[in-house]
């Protein structure tokens, strides 16, 4: 595999993670991560839509009129989202019910539209495919981490299997109710962003403006 291909594929995992660095796709990362099983299904659904739409957009990129390109992208993305939703409702009824509207909301997921506009519409097929896979994996990795933490500490289970026996079922573990509410996903994602940026300093954003007396101190 060529070096730049490797870069396109692996960079979104950590160096350029769609959630941690680009801070996109947060809505679904909060909503579907109370349990691991629906989160996994969401990862598969999003990656499928991302890969399929990137491939198609990259294939027709020379013929997309500039004025209507966003509409073209959204049409292609929503087609795949509807297909995924129909397939899930036919073959994974319970998970489709648990994910409810969030499969449909992939249409508005900024990661998918973002990759179409920033990458797939400007690059050949293979790099676009790798870029989509990479971003799908980067999104999935984060969703899996957040969902594992929330399910383990919020319900004492992982994929429905009891790990920490809750008090209500005769065990010792007092489940942390906060973990089941959306704010806990904010806290976990924020802590992960903090951890990654402490490790990879280059991800720290430059301040947009400086407060004047601090600027003076900086001059020394």
């Amino acid at each position: 595999m060529k070096h730049e291909h490797k870069k396109v594929l692996f960079e979104p995992l950590l160096e350029n993670n769609p959630i941690l660095l680009q801070v996109l796709g947060i809505c679904s990362a909060l909503a579907v991560t109370t349990r691991l099983a629906p989160a996994l299904m969401m990862c598969v659904a999003l990656t499928a839509v991302l890969v399929a739409s990137s491939v198609v957009i990259s294939m027709i990129r020379h013929h997309i009129p500039g004025h209507i390109r966003i509409i073209v992208f959204v049409t292609i993305i929503s087609t795949f989202v509807v297909l995924v939703e129909q397939v899930l409702r036919a073959f994974a009824f319970d998970l489709a019910n648990q994910l409810s509207v969030f499969i449909g909301l992939i249409i508005t997921n900024c990661i998918v539209l973002g990759r179409a506009e920033a990458f797939a519409s400007k690059h050949p097929l293979l790099p676009s495919l790798l870029d989509a896979l990479g971003h799908g994996a980067g999104y999935s990795a984060l969703l899996i981490i957040v969902a594992s933490l929330r399910e383990l500490f919020g319900s004492g289970t992982l994929l429905g299997v009891t790990i920490l026996q809750p008090v209500s079922e005769g065990g010792w573990y007092q489940p942390n109710g906060l973990m089941l509410l959306a704010p806990s996903a904010f806290f976990i994602i924020a802590l992960l962003i903090w951890a990654v940026r402490s490790w990879k300093r280059e991800q720290v954003e430059k301040p947009e403006f400086r407060i004047s007396h601090i600027a003076q101190d900086d001059r020394e």
């Binding site: 129909q86 409702r89 036919a90």
Partner: protein, 276 residues
């Protein structure tokens, strides 16, 4: 770029069209049309091909499995259809409590009947304790038969909680006690209100009385501090941290078992809640 160069030479009308600059209005319209056509064919093909399977899922997993759960006869991996064959579906006219035979109960679609002005029954806001806004004139009941006799009556009920409409099947013994309940669709707060879907909590419903001797619905969710030992047979523990969801559940029971709901039906056919 190489592609467009080579296409110009072979000047078929299609190729000439695609060789037009992307911003050309004709090409813009043609590209948009082709894209819409392909996408709509894909979407409608998928919808049509998968529809039978989705409907079967809805019937089997969305309805039959949940009814079996409500009557406590569901086990993972069982043949749902075979077990469900002991359950008879009938249609009831809610206002009179009479069975309806001119509509096929197996193919009756409740939500569609609510939307249809001919069968829609608006509920006055002051009487709408379960916040359902409107109900249908006819509603299904599911009768568990054993040796030619009705053993359990399963009623589909719904009402509004804190965030969502909660849907459940309530199974009742012919003597008017609760046999079980299964909340199968709800969007209440995870970990608090959505504990209504927890089988452990649902188990506490079993054996509770619904009507007092005067025929009033007394079954209610009561918070720990307010429980009255004399009324224990009418009281179920409310969910802690979910006051509004618990109230919603109490209200949907009161509504659906009251006069606007299945009250007349239960009184007429099972002498339940009719006063002794």
């Amino acid at each position: 770029m190489q592609e467009s160069n080579s296409t110009v030479k072979k000047a078929g009308p299609v190729r000439r069209l695609f060789a037009l600059p992307n911003e050309h209005p004709v090409k813009t319209i043609v590209v948009a049309l082709i894209l819409c056509l392909i996408c709509s064919v894909l979407v409608s093909t998928a919808a049509i091909l998968l529809k039978p399977r989705q409907l079967a899922n809805e019937e089997l997993l969305g309805k039959q499995r949940e009814i079996l759960r409500a009557v406590g006869r569901y086990q993972a991996g069982m043949n749902i259809q075979a077990e469900f064959s002991n359950i008879e579906t009938r249609l009831v006219e809610l206002a009179t409590g009479e069975y309806v035979s001119h509509i096929n109960a197996d193919h009756y679609h409740y939500a569609r009947a609510v939307a249809d002005p001919a069968t829609r029954v608006e509920i006055a806001p002051e009487a709408d304790i379960a916040r359902v806004r409107a109900i249908a004139k006819y509603a299904p009941v599911y009768l568990v038969q054993e040796a030619g006799e009705t053993r359990l009556i399963v009623l589909p009920v719904h009402g509004y909680g804190l965030w969502s409409t909660m849907y459940a099947y309530l199974a009742i013994e012919v003597d008017g006690r609760v046999a079980g309940i299964s909340f199968y669709k709800q969007g209440e707060t995870p970990g608090l209100g959505s504990e209504i879907a927890n089988p452990r909590w649902q188990a506490a419903w079993r054996g509770k009385r619904i009507y007092d001797d005067q025929g009033t619905v007394r079954l209610a969710l009561i918070t720990a501090g307010k429980r009255d030992p004399d009324q224990a047979e009418f009281q179920i523990d409310a969910l802690s941290g979910a006051t509004i969801t618990s109230k919603g559940v109490t209200h949907l029971i009161r509504f659906w078992l009251g006069e606007q709901g299945y009250g007349p039906y239960l009184r007429r056919h099972f002498h339940v809640g009719g006063g002794q």
